[in-house]
Protein backbone atom coordinates (compact mmCIF):
# COMPACT_ATOMS: atom_id res chain seq x y z
CA UNK A 1 0.00 0.00 0.00
CA UNK A 2 2.76 2.41 1.02
CA UNK A 3 4.52 1.65 -2.25
CA UNK A 4 1.38 2.54 -4.18
CA UNK A 5 0.98 5.82 -2.31
CA UNK A 6 4.62 6.80 -2.88
CA UNK A 7 4.39 5.95 -6.57
CA UNK A 8 1.11 7.83 -6.96
CA UNK A 9 2.64 10.95 -5.37
CA UNK A 10 5.81 10.63 -7.46
CA UNK A 11 3.64 10.52 -10.59
CA UNK A 12 2.25 13.89 -9.54
CA UNK A 13 5.61 15.64 -10.08
CA UNK A 14 5.69 15.55 -13.92
CA UNK A 15 2.01 16.50 -13.98
CA UNK A 16 2.69 19.59 -11.88
CA UNK A 17 5.73 20.49 -14.00
CA UNK A 18 3.76 20.32 -17.25
CA UNK A 19 0.88 22.19 -15.58
CA UNK A 20 3.15 25.08 -14.61
CA UNK A 21 4.63 25.01 -18.12
CA UNK A 22 1.14 25.32 -19.59
CA UNK A 23 0.13 28.13 -17.23
CA UNK A 24 3.43 29.92 -17.84
CA UNK A 25 3.11 29.56 -21.62
CA UNK A 26 -0.45 30.87 -21.66
CA UNK A 27 0.77 34.15 -20.23
CA UNK A 28 4.12 34.15 -22.06
CA UNK A 29 2.53 33.80 -25.48
CA UNK A 30 -0.40 36.08 -24.67
CA UNK A 31 -0.73 38.90 -27.19
CA UNK A 32 0.52 42.23 -25.87
CA UNK A 33 3.83 43.45 -24.48
CA UNK A 34 4.54 42.21 -20.94
CA UNK A 35 6.61 45.28 -20.07
CA UNK A 36 3.79 47.67 -20.95
CA UNK A 37 1.50 45.50 -18.88
CA UNK A 38 3.66 46.18 -15.83
CA UNK A 39 4.72 49.74 -16.51
CA UNK A 40 1.76 51.14 -18.42
CA UNK A 41 1.87 52.46 -21.99
CA UNK A 42 3.71 55.76 -21.45
CA UNK A 43 7.26 55.17 -20.21
CA UNK A 44 10.65 56.45 -21.31
CA UNK A 45 12.87 53.96 -23.15
CA UNK A 46 15.28 53.90 -20.16
CA UNK A 47 12.58 52.96 -17.67
CA UNK A 48 11.21 50.44 -20.17
CA UNK A 49 14.62 48.82 -20.50
CA UNK A 50 15.22 48.73 -16.75
CA UNK A 51 11.85 47.06 -16.11
CA UNK A 52 12.57 44.59 -18.88
CA UNK A 53 15.81 43.66 -17.19
CA UNK A 54 14.43 43.75 -13.64
CA UNK A 55 11.77 41.15 -14.45
CA UNK A 56 14.14 39.12 -16.63
CA UNK A 57 11.96 39.68 -19.68
CA UNK A 58 15.02 40.06 -21.91
CA UNK A 59 15.89 36.38 -21.35
CA UNK A 60 14.81 33.53 -23.69
CA UNK A 61 11.65 31.53 -22.94
CA UNK A 62 13.34 28.54 -21.33
CA UNK A 63 15.43 30.65 -18.95
CA UNK A 64 12.37 32.65 -17.97
CA UNK A 65 10.44 29.45 -17.37
CA UNK A 66 13.20 27.89 -15.26
CA UNK A 67 13.46 31.05 -13.16
CA UNK A 68 9.71 31.04 -12.75
CA UNK A 69 9.76 27.37 -11.70
CA UNK A 70 12.58 28.02 -9.23
CA UNK A 71 10.67 30.79 -7.49
CA UNK A 72 7.45 28.74 -7.51
CA UNK A 73 9.27 25.90 -5.74
CA UNK A 74 10.58 28.42 -3.21
CA UNK A 75 6.97 29.49 -2.62
CA UNK A 76 7.37 32.84 -4.37
CA UNK A 77 4.62 33.54 -6.89
CA UNK A 78 5.73 37.06 -7.73
CA UNK A 79 4.47 40.50 -6.78
CA UNK A 80 1.03 41.88 -7.58
CA UNK A 81 1.33 44.79 -10.02
CA UNK A 82 -1.73 46.48 -8.58
CA UNK A 83 -1.29 46.00 -4.85
CA UNK A 84 2.51 45.65 -4.83
CA UNK A 85 2.33 42.78 -2.33
CA UNK A 86 3.49 39.17 -2.67
CA UNK A 87 0.91 37.16 -4.62
CA UNK A 88 1.26 34.21 -2.25
CA UNK A 89 0.11 36.42 0.65
CA UNK A 90 -3.01 37.49 -1.24
CA UNK A 91 -3.80 33.87 -2.11
CA UNK A 92 -3.32 32.79 1.51
CA UNK A 93 -5.97 35.32 2.52
CA UNK A 94 -8.46 34.36 -0.15
CA UNK A 95 -8.15 30.59 -0.65
CA UNK A 96 -9.55 29.55 2.77
CA UNK A 97 -12.73 31.54 2.04
CA UNK A 98 -13.32 29.61 -1.18
CA UNK A 99 -12.52 26.32 0.56
CA UNK A 100 -15.11 27.10 3.26
CA UNK A 101 -17.81 27.46 0.59
CA UNK A 102 -16.54 24.32 -1.14
CA UNK A 103 -16.52 22.19 2.01
CA UNK A 104 -19.97 23.35 3.07
CA UNK A 105 -21.08 22.68 -0.51
CA UNK A 106 -19.73 19.11 -0.34
CA UNK A 107 -21.51 18.58 2.99
CA UNK A 108 -24.81 19.68 1.47
CA UNK A 109 -24.11 17.47 -1.57
CA UNK A 110 -23.72 14.38 0.62
CA UNK A 111 -26.71 15.18 2.83
CA UNK A 112 -28.95 15.35 -0.24
CA UNK A 113 -27.35 13.05 -2.81
CA UNK A 114 -26.78 9.91 -0.72
CA UNK A 115 -30.31 9.55 0.68
CA UNK A 116 -31.87 10.56 -2.65
CA UNK A 117 -29.71 8.16 -4.66
CA UNK A 118 -30.28 5.26 -2.25
CA UNK A 119 -34.04 5.77 -2.09
CA UNK A 120 -34.26 6.09 -5.89
CA UNK A 121 -32.29 2.85 -6.34
CA UNK A 122 -34.22 0.89 -3.71
CA UNK A 123 -37.56 2.06 -5.05
CA UNK A 124 -36.52 1.75 -8.69
CA UNK A 125 -39.23 2.62 -11.24
CA UNK A 126 -41.65 3.94 -8.65
CA UNK A 127 -43.00 7.47 -8.30
CA UNK A 128 -40.27 8.27 -5.72
CA UNK A 129 -37.58 7.23 -8.20
CA UNK A 130 -39.12 9.30 -11.00
CA UNK A 131 -39.36 12.34 -8.71
CA UNK A 132 -35.72 12.01 -7.65
CA UNK A 133 -34.56 11.56 -11.23
CA UNK A 134 -36.60 14.53 -12.48
CA UNK A 135 -34.97 16.52 -9.70
CA UNK A 136 -31.52 15.53 -10.92
CA UNK A 137 -32.49 16.41 -14.50
CA UNK A 138 -33.38 19.90 -13.29
CA UNK A 139 -30.30 20.09 -11.05
CA UNK A 140 -27.85 19.22 -13.82
CA UNK A 141 -29.39 21.82 -16.15
CA UNK A 142 -29.68 24.76 -13.75
CA UNK A 143 -26.71 27.16 -13.94
CA UNK A 144 -25.13 27.38 -10.47
CA UNK A 145 -24.83 31.15 -10.48
CA UNK A 146 -28.45 31.61 -11.52
CA UNK A 147 -29.56 29.28 -8.72
CA UNK A 148 -27.48 31.47 -6.41
CA UNK A 149 -29.40 34.53 -7.58
CA UNK A 150 -32.76 32.76 -7.14
CA UNK A 151 -31.81 31.72 -3.60
CA UNK A 152 -30.70 35.27 -2.87
CA UNK A 153 -33.96 36.67 -4.17
CA UNK A 154 -36.21 34.34 -2.15
CA UNK A 155 -34.26 33.74 1.05
CA UNK A 156 -32.42 37.05 1.44
CA UNK A 157 -34.60 39.70 -0.21
CA UNK A 158 -38.10 38.25 0.29
CA UNK A 159 -37.95 36.03 3.40
CA UNK A 160 -34.95 37.82 4.95
CA UNK A 161 -33.67 34.58 6.48
CA UNK A 162 -30.11 35.21 5.41
CA UNK A 163 -27.94 38.28 4.77
CA UNK A 164 -27.99 39.47 1.16
CA UNK A 165 -24.24 39.49 0.64
CA UNK A 166 -20.89 39.84 2.36
CA UNK A 167 -18.69 37.61 4.42
CA UNK A 168 -18.04 37.05 8.12
CA UNK A 169 -20.57 34.69 9.66
CA UNK A 170 -21.81 31.22 8.82
CA UNK A 171 -25.10 32.74 7.66
CA UNK A 172 -23.25 34.50 4.85
CA UNK A 173 -21.99 31.17 3.53
CA UNK A 174 -25.29 29.28 3.56
CA UNK A 175 -26.82 30.51 0.29
CA UNK A 176 -23.72 30.24 -1.93
CA UNK A 177 -22.90 26.81 -0.47
CA UNK A 178 -26.49 25.73 -1.02
CA UNK A 179 -26.30 26.80 -4.69
CA UNK A 180 -23.14 24.72 -5.16
CA UNK A 181 -24.35 21.81 -3.04
CA UNK A 182 -27.73 21.49 -4.79
CA UNK A 183 -26.33 21.44 -8.34
CA UNK A 184 -23.51 19.12 -7.35
CA UNK A 185 -25.98 16.86 -5.55
CA UNK A 186 -27.87 16.28 -8.80
CA UNK A 187 -24.96 14.61 -10.56
CA UNK A 188 -23.85 12.79 -7.40
CA UNK A 189 -27.33 11.39 -6.74
CA UNK A 190 -27.36 9.86 -10.23
CA UNK A 191 -24.02 8.27 -9.56
CA UNK A 192 -25.12 6.92 -6.15
CA UNK A 193 -28.27 5.52 -7.72
CA UNK A 194 -26.56 3.64 -10.55
CA UNK A 195 -23.76 2.44 -8.30
CA UNK A 196 -26.32 1.26 -5.73
CA UNK A 197 -28.34 -0.57 -8.39
CA UNK A 198 -25.22 -2.40 -9.49
CA UNK A 199 -24.33 -3.44 -5.95
CA UNK A 200 -27.88 -4.53 -5.09
CA UNK A 201 -27.64 -7.09 -7.92
CA UNK A 202 -24.54 -8.72 -6.54
CA UNK A 203 -24.37 -12.13 -4.95
CA UNK A 204 -23.26 -11.01 -1.51
CA UNK A 205 -26.34 -8.84 -1.20
CA UNK A 206 -28.50 -11.82 -2.14
CA UNK A 207 -26.64 -13.88 0.48
CA UNK A 208 -27.24 -11.21 3.10
CA UNK A 209 -30.93 -11.18 2.24
CA UNK A 210 -31.24 -14.95 2.25
CA UNK A 211 -29.66 -15.04 5.70
CA UNK A 212 -32.83 -13.25 6.71
CA UNK A 213 -31.24 -9.92 7.56
CA UNK A 214 -33.49 -6.92 7.81
CA UNK A 215 -33.77 -5.06 4.49
CA UNK A 216 -32.51 -1.92 6.25
CA UNK A 217 -29.36 -3.70 7.42
CA UNK A 218 -28.77 -5.13 3.96
CA UNK A 219 -29.08 -1.75 2.31
CA UNK A 220 -27.29 0.50 4.78
CA UNK A 221 -24.69 -1.82 6.29
CA UNK A 222 -23.86 -4.07 3.34
CA UNK A 223 -24.78 -2.44 0.05
CA UNK A 224 -24.26 1.27 0.68
CA UNK A 225 -20.66 0.85 1.86
CA UNK A 226 -19.58 -0.60 -1.47
CA UNK A 227 -21.86 1.60 -3.52
CA UNK A 228 -20.14 4.72 -2.16
CA UNK A 229 -16.65 3.69 -3.31
CA UNK A 230 -16.95 5.07 -6.87
CA UNK A 231 -18.46 8.25 -5.43
CA UNK A 232 -15.12 9.00 -3.72
CA UNK A 233 -13.38 9.36 -7.10
CA UNK A 234 -16.22 11.47 -8.40
CA UNK A 235 -15.82 13.84 -5.45
CA UNK A 236 -12.12 14.27 -6.25
CA UNK A 237 -13.04 15.18 -9.81
CA UNK A 238 -15.82 17.51 -8.68
CA UNK A 239 -13.50 19.74 -6.64
CA UNK A 240 -12.34 21.53 -9.78
CA UNK A 241 -15.93 22.00 -10.86
CA UNK A 242 -16.85 23.37 -7.44
CA UNK A 243 -14.03 25.93 -7.52
CA UNK A 244 -15.00 26.90 -11.07
CA UNK A 245 -18.63 27.33 -10.01
CA UNK A 246 -17.64 29.25 -6.93
CA UNK A 247 -16.11 32.08 -9.02
CA UNK A 248 -19.44 33.57 -10.12
CA UNK A 249 -21.05 32.93 -6.71
CA UNK A 250 -18.30 34.88 -4.97
CA UNK A 251 -19.08 37.81 -7.27
CA UNK A 252 -22.84 37.57 -6.67
CA UNK A 253 -22.59 37.29 -2.90
CA UNK A 254 -19.59 39.70 -2.58
CA UNK A 255 -17.43 37.06 -0.93
CA UNK A 256 -13.68 37.73 -0.88
CA UNK A 257 -12.59 34.30 -2.18
CA UNK A 258 -9.94 33.34 -4.69
CA UNK A 259 -12.39 33.28 -7.60
CA UNK A 260 -13.25 36.92 -7.05
CA UNK A 261 -9.55 37.72 -6.71
CA UNK A 262 -8.92 36.10 -10.10
CA UNK A 263 -11.71 37.91 -11.92
CA UNK A 264 -10.75 41.27 -10.40
CA UNK A 265 -7.12 40.67 -11.36
CA UNK A 266 -8.00 39.72 -14.94
CA UNK A 267 -10.08 42.86 -15.36
CA UNK A 268 -7.25 44.95 -13.85
CA UNK A 269 -4.63 43.07 -15.95
CA UNK A 270 -2.75 42.05 -12.81
CA UNK A 271 -1.20 38.97 -14.48
CA UNK A 272 1.09 37.70 -11.67
CA UNK A 273 -1.98 37.29 -9.44
CA UNK A 274 -3.92 35.41 -12.14
CA UNK A 275 -0.95 33.17 -12.86
CA UNK A 276 -0.30 32.48 -9.17
CA UNK A 277 -3.97 31.71 -8.45
CA UNK A 278 -4.13 29.32 -11.41
CA UNK A 279 -1.07 27.45 -10.17
CA UNK A 280 -2.31 27.16 -6.60
CA UNK A 281 -5.82 26.12 -7.68
CA UNK A 282 -4.75 23.52 -10.25
CA UNK A 283 -2.13 22.06 -7.86
CA UNK A 284 -4.79 21.66 -5.17
CA UNK A 285 -7.12 20.01 -7.68
CA UNK A 286 -4.40 17.59 -8.83
CA UNK A 287 -3.60 16.83 -5.18
CA UNK A 288 -7.28 16.25 -4.39
CA UNK A 289 -7.57 13.79 -7.29
CA UNK A 290 -4.56 11.86 -6.04
CA UNK A 291 -5.91 11.79 -2.49
CA UNK A 292 -9.20 10.48 -3.88
CA UNK A 293 -7.30 7.77 -5.80
CA UNK A 294 -5.36 6.74 -2.70
CA UNK A 295 -8.49 6.72 -0.58
CA UNK A 296 -10.14 4.63 -3.28
CA UNK A 297 -7.31 2.11 -3.15
CA UNK A 298 -7.50 1.96 0.65
CA UNK A 299 -11.24 1.30 0.75
CA UNK A 300 -11.27 -1.07 -2.19
CA UNK A 301 -8.33 -3.49 -2.06
CA UNK A 302 -9.26 -4.84 -5.51
CA UNK A 303 -8.09 -1.57 -7.06
CA UNK A 304 -4.31 -1.16 -7.16
CA UNK A 305 -2.97 0.40 -10.26
CA UNK A 306 0.18 -1.38 -11.41
Amino acid sequence: MLKYIVRRIALMIPVVIVMTLIVFSIFYFAPGDPVSRIAGPNVTPEVYESIRRKYGLDQPFIIQYLRFMKSVIEGDLGISILQERPVIEMIQERLPVTLEIGLLGFLITFLIAIPAGVIAAVKKNTLVDYLCMSGTLLGTAIPTFWLGMLLMYFFAYKLRWFPISGYGTLQHLVLPSLAIGLTNAAITARMVRSSMLEVLNQDYVRTARSKGLLEKVVIYRHALKNALIPVITLMGLRLGWIIGGSVALEIIFSIPGIGRLMVDSILARDYPVVQGSMIVLTSSIILANILADILYAIVDPRIRYG
Partner: protein, 307 residues
Protein backbone atom coordinates in the same frame (compact mmCIF):
# COMPACT_ATOMS: atom_id res chain seq x y z
CA UNK B 1 -29.99 -12.07 -41.13
CA UNK B 2 -28.41 -11.06 -37.86
CA UNK B 3 -25.31 -8.89 -37.82
CA UNK B 4 -22.34 -10.64 -36.24
CA UNK B 5 -21.77 -9.48 -32.67
CA UNK B 6 -18.69 -7.31 -32.55
CA UNK B 7 -16.38 -6.87 -29.61
CA UNK B 8 -17.32 -3.24 -29.33
CA UNK B 9 -21.06 -3.59 -29.66
CA UNK B 10 -22.16 -0.30 -31.19
CA UNK B 11 -23.81 0.61 -34.45
CA UNK B 12 -20.60 1.93 -35.99
CA UNK B 13 -19.16 -1.55 -36.41
CA UNK B 14 -22.46 -2.80 -37.66
CA UNK B 15 -22.40 -0.15 -40.40
CA UNK B 16 -19.30 -1.66 -41.77
CA UNK B 17 -20.87 -5.08 -41.92
CA UNK B 18 -23.97 -3.74 -43.59
CA UNK B 19 -21.86 -1.90 -46.14
CA UNK B 20 -20.27 -5.21 -46.98
CA UNK B 21 -23.66 -6.85 -47.32
CA UNK B 22 -24.79 -3.98 -49.53
CA UNK B 23 -21.94 -4.62 -51.90
CA UNK B 24 -23.21 -8.12 -52.32
CA UNK B 25 -26.96 -7.62 -52.30
CA UNK B 26 -27.45 -4.13 -53.73
CA UNK B 27 -28.17 -0.62 -52.52
CA UNK B 28 -31.23 -1.06 -50.33
CA UNK B 29 -29.63 -2.31 -47.17
CA UNK B 30 -27.35 0.72 -46.80
CA UNK B 31 -30.36 2.73 -45.72
CA UNK B 32 -31.36 0.32 -43.06
CA UNK B 33 -29.08 1.43 -40.18
CA UNK B 34 -29.99 5.06 -40.80
CA UNK B 35 -33.73 4.52 -40.82
CA UNK B 36 -33.36 2.15 -37.92
CA UNK B 37 -31.50 4.80 -35.97
CA UNK B 38 -34.10 7.46 -36.74
CA UNK B 39 -36.90 5.11 -35.76
CA UNK B 40 -35.18 4.47 -32.43
CA UNK B 41 -34.76 8.20 -31.87
CA UNK B 42 -38.46 8.82 -32.49
CA UNK B 43 -39.42 6.09 -30.05
CA UNK B 44 -37.18 7.57 -27.33
CA UNK B 45 -39.23 10.09 -25.31
CA UNK B 46 -36.17 11.95 -24.02
CA UNK B 47 -34.73 12.28 -27.53
CA UNK B 48 -37.95 13.71 -28.97
CA UNK B 49 -38.44 16.11 -26.06
CA UNK B 50 -34.80 17.23 -26.21
CA UNK B 51 -34.86 17.63 -29.99
CA UNK B 52 -38.01 19.77 -29.83
CA UNK B 53 -36.37 22.11 -27.29
CA UNK B 54 -33.17 22.34 -29.35
CA UNK B 55 -35.15 23.01 -32.55
CA UNK B 56 -37.15 25.76 -30.84
CA UNK B 57 -33.94 27.52 -29.81
CA UNK B 58 -32.33 27.07 -33.24
CA UNK B 59 -35.44 28.53 -34.91
CA UNK B 60 -35.41 31.42 -32.42
CA UNK B 61 -31.79 32.18 -33.33
CA UNK B 62 -32.44 32.00 -37.07
CA UNK B 63 -35.71 33.94 -36.99
CA UNK B 64 -34.54 36.49 -34.38
CA UNK B 65 -35.09 39.61 -36.57
CA UNK B 66 -38.72 38.54 -37.19
CA UNK B 67 -39.45 37.22 -33.71
CA UNK B 68 -38.10 40.11 -31.66
CA UNK B 69 -40.76 42.80 -31.25
CA UNK B 70 -38.19 45.52 -30.43
CA UNK B 71 -34.56 46.24 -31.26
CA UNK B 72 -32.33 44.61 -28.69
CA UNK B 73 -30.15 47.67 -28.05
CA UNK B 74 -32.71 50.48 -28.36
CA UNK B 75 -33.28 52.34 -25.07
CA UNK B 76 -36.78 53.65 -24.28
CA UNK B 77 -36.90 56.05 -21.34
CA UNK B 78 -40.68 55.90 -21.22
CA UNK B 79 -40.57 52.17 -20.37
CA UNK B 80 -37.81 51.75 -17.79
CA UNK B 81 -37.87 48.67 -15.48
CA UNK B 82 -41.34 47.54 -16.53
CA UNK B 83 -42.47 44.19 -15.14
CA UNK B 84 -43.57 41.53 -17.66
CA UNK B 85 -46.72 42.58 -19.56
CA UNK B 86 -48.39 42.11 -22.94
CA UNK B 87 -46.18 44.78 -24.56
CA UNK B 88 -43.03 43.50 -22.91
CA UNK B 89 -43.39 39.74 -22.36
CA UNK B 90 -40.29 39.47 -20.14
CA UNK B 91 -40.30 43.10 -18.91
CA UNK B 92 -37.70 45.80 -19.57
CA UNK B 93 -34.32 46.70 -18.08
CA UNK B 94 -32.99 49.94 -16.58
CA UNK B 95 -32.62 51.47 -20.06
CA UNK B 96 -36.14 50.47 -21.09
CA UNK B 97 -34.83 47.77 -23.44
CA UNK B 98 -37.17 44.84 -24.06
CA UNK B 99 -35.77 41.75 -22.27
CA UNK B 100 -37.63 39.35 -24.58
CA UNK B 101 -36.02 40.86 -27.67
CA UNK B 102 -32.60 40.83 -26.02
CA UNK B 103 -33.00 37.16 -25.08
CA UNK B 104 -34.14 36.27 -28.61
CA UNK B 105 -31.00 37.86 -30.08
CA UNK B 106 -28.90 36.38 -27.27
CA UNK B 107 -29.84 32.92 -28.55
CA UNK B 108 -27.70 33.66 -31.61
CA UNK B 109 -24.63 34.37 -29.46
CA UNK B 110 -25.14 31.33 -27.23
CA UNK B 111 -25.63 28.86 -30.05
CA UNK B 112 -22.89 30.30 -32.24
CA UNK B 113 -20.33 30.17 -29.42
CA UNK B 114 -21.42 26.64 -28.46
CA UNK B 115 -21.40 25.15 -31.97
CA UNK B 116 -18.15 26.80 -33.14
CA UNK B 117 -16.26 26.11 -29.90
CA UNK B 118 -17.42 22.50 -29.73
CA UNK B 119 -16.67 22.03 -33.45
CA UNK B 120 -13.12 23.33 -33.09
CA UNK B 121 -12.36 21.36 -29.92
CA UNK B 122 -13.84 18.24 -31.54
CA UNK B 123 -11.48 18.57 -34.52
CA UNK B 124 -8.42 19.23 -32.32
CA UNK B 125 -9.23 16.36 -29.96
CA UNK B 126 -10.17 13.90 -32.70
CA UNK B 127 -7.04 14.51 -34.78
CA UNK B 128 -4.73 14.26 -31.75
CA UNK B 129 -6.56 11.18 -30.46
CA UNK B 130 -6.40 9.51 -33.87
CA UNK B 131 -2.66 10.15 -34.19
CA UNK B 132 -1.98 8.89 -30.65
CA UNK B 133 -4.11 5.77 -31.02
CA UNK B 134 -3.03 4.88 -34.56
CA UNK B 135 0.71 5.36 -34.25
CA UNK B 136 1.18 4.47 -30.57
CA UNK B 137 4.72 4.57 -29.15
CA UNK B 138 6.37 7.95 -28.58
CA UNK B 139 3.64 9.88 -30.41
CA UNK B 140 1.05 8.32 -28.14
CA UNK B 141 3.14 8.97 -25.02
CA UNK B 142 3.58 12.68 -25.75
CA UNK B 143 -0.02 13.30 -26.81
CA UNK B 144 -1.45 11.26 -23.94
CA UNK B 145 0.63 13.04 -21.32
CA UNK B 146 -0.49 16.46 -22.49
CA UNK B 147 -4.08 15.27 -22.77
CA UNK B 148 -4.12 13.85 -19.25
CA UNK B 149 -2.92 17.15 -17.86
CA UNK B 150 -5.37 19.21 -19.91
CA UNK B 151 -8.03 16.79 -18.65
CA UNK B 152 -7.04 17.51 -15.03
CA UNK B 153 -7.73 21.25 -15.44
CA UNK B 154 -11.34 22.18 -14.77
CA UNK B 155 -12.75 23.58 -18.04
CA UNK B 156 -14.14 26.79 -16.54
CA UNK B 157 -10.84 27.69 -14.84
CA UNK B 158 -8.79 26.90 -17.94
CA UNK B 159 -11.14 28.99 -20.08
CA UNK B 160 -10.76 31.85 -17.58
CA UNK B 161 -6.95 31.57 -17.86
CA UNK B 162 -7.13 31.75 -21.65
CA UNK B 163 -9.42 34.76 -21.44
CA UNK B 164 -6.96 36.42 -19.06
CA UNK B 165 -4.25 36.00 -21.68
CA UNK B 166 -6.38 36.74 -24.77
CA UNK B 167 -8.57 39.60 -23.51
CA UNK B 168 -12.37 39.63 -23.30
CA UNK B 169 -14.86 39.34 -26.18
CA UNK B 170 -17.08 36.74 -27.82
CA UNK B 171 -14.45 35.55 -30.32
CA UNK B 172 -11.94 35.00 -27.53
CA UNK B 173 -14.56 33.09 -25.53
CA UNK B 174 -14.90 30.71 -28.48
CA UNK B 175 -11.12 30.21 -28.64
CA UNK B 176 -10.87 29.81 -24.86
CA UNK B 177 -13.64 27.18 -24.68
CA UNK B 178 -12.23 25.30 -27.68
CA UNK B 179 -8.72 25.22 -26.21
CA UNK B 180 -10.03 24.23 -22.79
CA UNK B 181 -12.23 21.30 -23.81
CA UNK B 182 -10.58 19.16 -26.51
CA UNK B 183 -9.04 16.61 -24.11
CA UNK B 184 -12.22 14.55 -23.72
CA UNK B 185 -12.48 13.83 -27.46
CA UNK B 186 -8.79 12.98 -27.61
CA UNK B 187 -9.14 10.35 -24.89
CA UNK B 188 -12.23 8.79 -26.43
CA UNK B 189 -10.85 8.70 -30.00
CA UNK B 190 -7.51 7.34 -28.82
CA UNK B 191 -9.26 4.50 -27.02
CA UNK B 192 -11.34 3.71 -30.11
CA UNK B 193 -8.29 3.72 -32.37
CA UNK B 194 -6.35 1.46 -30.01
CA UNK B 195 -9.05 -1.17 -30.24
CA UNK B 196 -9.81 -0.69 -33.94
CA UNK B 197 -6.32 -0.56 -35.39
CA UNK B 198 -5.72 -4.29 -34.93
CA UNK B 199 -8.96 -5.26 -36.63
CA UNK B 200 -8.96 -7.18 -39.90
CA UNK B 201 -10.33 -4.36 -42.06
CA UNK B 202 -7.47 -2.08 -41.03
CA UNK B 203 -4.90 -4.76 -41.71
CA UNK B 204 -6.54 -5.40 -45.06
CA UNK B 205 -6.35 -1.71 -45.92
CA UNK B 206 -2.68 -1.71 -44.95
CA UNK B 207 -1.93 -4.74 -47.08
CA UNK B 208 -3.67 -3.04 -50.01
CA UNK B 209 -1.04 -0.31 -49.65
CA UNK B 210 -3.31 2.54 -48.58
CA UNK B 211 -1.69 5.62 -47.10
CA UNK B 212 -1.90 6.15 -43.32
CA UNK B 213 -4.00 9.27 -43.83
CA UNK B 214 -6.52 7.35 -45.92
CA UNK B 215 -6.73 4.53 -43.40
CA UNK B 216 -7.10 6.92 -40.44
CA UNK B 217 -9.68 9.27 -41.93
CA UNK B 218 -11.37 7.01 -44.46
CA UNK B 219 -11.59 3.74 -42.59
CA UNK B 220 -10.92 3.88 -38.85
CA UNK B 221 -12.34 7.28 -37.97
CA UNK B 222 -15.87 6.68 -39.33
CA UNK B 223 -16.07 3.63 -37.08
CA UNK B 224 -14.90 5.62 -34.05
CA UNK B 225 -17.28 8.55 -34.41
CA UNK B 226 -20.35 7.43 -32.46
CA UNK B 227 -19.00 8.16 -28.96
CA UNK B 228 -17.51 11.42 -30.27
CA UNK B 229 -20.92 12.58 -31.46
CA UNK B 230 -22.48 11.66 -28.12
CA UNK B 231 -19.75 13.55 -26.30
CA UNK B 232 -20.09 16.63 -28.52
CA UNK B 233 -23.86 16.75 -27.89
CA UNK B 234 -23.18 16.76 -24.16
CA UNK B 235 -20.39 19.35 -24.50
CA UNK B 236 -22.69 21.86 -26.26
CA UNK B 237 -24.69 22.71 -23.11
CA UNK B 238 -21.47 23.00 -21.11
CA UNK B 239 -20.15 25.51 -23.65
CA UNK B 240 -23.39 27.48 -23.39
CA UNK B 241 -23.08 27.65 -19.59
CA UNK B 242 -19.39 28.63 -19.73
CA UNK B 243 -20.12 31.39 -22.26
CA UNK B 244 -22.91 32.70 -20.04
CA UNK B 245 -20.72 32.55 -16.91
CA UNK B 246 -17.79 34.30 -18.60
CA UNK B 247 -20.06 37.02 -19.97
CA UNK B 248 -21.70 37.31 -16.55
CA UNK B 249 -18.25 37.89 -15.01
CA UNK B 250 -17.49 40.59 -17.59
CA UNK B 251 -14.91 38.36 -19.29
CA UNK B 252 -16.93 37.42 -22.38
CA UNK B 253 -19.44 39.36 -24.47
CA UNK B 254 -19.55 43.02 -23.47
CA UNK B 255 -22.63 45.21 -23.02
CA UNK B 256 -24.71 46.18 -24.97
CA UNK B 257 -24.36 42.76 -26.64
CA UNK B 258 -27.40 40.72 -25.60
CA UNK B 259 -25.55 37.61 -24.40
CA UNK B 260 -27.63 35.81 -21.76
CA UNK B 261 -24.74 36.22 -19.33
CA UNK B 262 -24.61 39.99 -19.93
CA UNK B 263 -28.38 40.30 -19.31
CA UNK B 264 -28.07 38.24 -16.11
CA UNK B 265 -25.23 40.50 -14.97
CA UNK B 266 -27.23 43.65 -15.70
CA UNK B 267 -30.01 42.32 -13.47
CA UNK B 268 -27.67 41.42 -10.61
CA UNK B 269 -27.81 44.83 -8.92
CA UNK B 270 -31.56 45.15 -9.53
CA UNK B 271 -32.55 41.75 -8.19
CA UNK B 272 -34.93 43.14 -5.56
CA UNK B 273 -36.44 45.84 -7.80
CA UNK B 274 -36.62 44.00 -11.12
CA UNK B 275 -36.06 40.25 -10.66
CA UNK B 276 -37.38 39.53 -14.18
CA UNK B 277 -34.19 40.88 -15.78
CA UNK B 278 -32.14 38.01 -14.35
CA UNK B 279 -34.93 35.44 -14.13
CA UNK B 280 -35.68 34.92 -17.83
CA UNK B 281 -32.16 34.58 -19.27
CA UNK B 282 -31.32 32.01 -16.55
CA UNK B 283 -34.50 30.11 -17.35
CA UNK B 284 -33.52 30.01 -21.04
CA UNK B 285 -30.05 28.66 -20.18
CA UNK B 286 -31.67 25.97 -18.07
CA UNK B 287 -34.13 25.00 -20.84
CA UNK B 288 -31.56 24.80 -23.61
CA UNK B 289 -29.13 22.87 -21.40
CA UNK B 290 -31.90 20.43 -20.49
CA UNK B 291 -32.74 19.98 -24.17
CA UNK B 292 -29.17 19.11 -25.11
CA UNK B 293 -28.73 16.87 -22.04
CA UNK B 294 -31.89 14.90 -22.82
CA UNK B 295 -30.94 14.53 -26.48
CA UNK B 296 -27.33 13.62 -25.67
CA UNK B 297 -28.32 11.02 -23.08
CA UNK B 298 -30.74 9.50 -25.60
CA UNK B 299 -28.05 9.40 -28.29
CA UNK B 300 -25.77 7.61 -25.86
CA UNK B 301 -28.48 5.07 -25.02
CA UNK B 302 -28.99 4.34 -28.71
CA UNK B 303 -25.47 4.55 -30.15
CA UNK B 304 -23.47 3.24 -27.24
CA UNK B 305 -25.55 0.68 -25.38
CA UNK B 306 -22.52 -0.69 -23.54
CA UNK B 307 -21.59 2.44 -21.64
Amino acid sequence: MIAPQSRNGGVYIENEWIEQQALETGEEKVRKPVTDFIAKLFRHKGAVFGAVIILLFVCTAVLAPWLAPYEYDKPDISAVLQPPSIEHLFGTDEFGRDIFSRIVYGTQISLRVAFVAVGVSLVIGTVLGALAGYYGGVVDYIISSITDIAWAFPTTLLAIAFIAALDTGVENVIIAIALASWSGYCRVVRGQFLSLREREFVQAARILGMSDARIIFGHVLPNALAPVIVMATLELPKAIVIEASLSFLGLGAQPPDPSWGVILDSGKGLLDQAPWISFFPGLMIMLVVMGFNLFGDALRDILDPNS
